[in-house]
Symmetry: C2
Subunit: 162 residues, 2 copies
């Protein structure tokens, strides 16, 4: 079953190349970027300015063809791709929670940006902690004990076509 | 720019119709479901069993054509669609954080399911609180003061084609 989406805008960031990028928004503290939403969707941004954080869904447009086992940035062992956040996936959809600093027309000013410049935007959702969490008793499998590496780890070109 | 994805599996749940469904996973405590991942992706599920919670991205296959202003389940005022989690969106991608109970081959047993039976699966990611959160000073705009309604509110047919 094929599912077709359209880019509804574009994400701008200081990261022109995939090497050396923060690997998660948690490791991109203070990094500013912009989301330029296509004018036709402007009305859909109403009321968004009340939220401090938003979820961005986007298309990893430069990712390589996926492999089912990948060596993630934070490990030296191959892991199942669905147990990682690797950009090369069967459907290369990226997810970041970023801080919303302000909205100027169709431009969102965002912070904590771990996204490549020029990335096509798929969706924006309000981030509501209580919607997505109901307990705090989390187990993290292979990432256990590596959580403190999120902030310092940068990406390289392993998942990207150029 | 058109972006094409393929369903990589299907989500099974007790919800055969959109009316009366929990509106978020936080309001579906204890509700069990299954994710059936297509056999060709089986190897990609390695190491996932170590995680207590996973992020499911899926296609709202029964949603109506989107409108840019919508009346959400938890409000009587029209809001910009990107400031809501409404299923009818320019790109109808759904996001749920669910509890992973176990994996049997290509079948994931999940809990806290707020998803319609038969929904096409797009992606599975490990849920790692520390990746997506870096502070806890959240502002929720129009949802402020309505957070306690998440658990009790059920959906109706307003966003669905049948």
């Amino acid at each position: 079953m094929e599912i077709k989406y359209k880019a509804i805008g574009i994400i701008k960031s200081p990261f022109k190349a995939t090497e050396g990028m923060p690997i998660q928004s948690a490791s991109a503290s203070g990094v500013r970027g912009e989301v330029i939403v296509n004018e036709e969707y402007l009305e859909g941004l109403s009321d968004l300015d009340g939220f401090s954080h938003i979820v961005l869904l986007f298309h990893f447009h430069q990712s390589k063809k996926f492999k089912l086992k990948v060596k993630p940035y934070m490990d030296n062992v191959e892991r199942g791709v669905f147990a990682t956040r690797a950009p090369s996936r069967p459907n290369s959809i990226g997810l970041s929670v970023v801080k919303l600093i302000g909205i100027e027309g169709n431009k969102l000013i965002i912070e904590n940006v771990d996204i490549l410049d020029g990335t096509p935007l798929l969706d924006i959702k309000p981030y509501i902690y209580e919607m997505d969490n109901y307990d705090n008793n989390f187990r993290y499998g292979w990432i256990t004990g590596k959580i403190n590496k999120i902030k310092g780890t940068k990406s390289d070109s392993r998942f990207f076509a150029k």
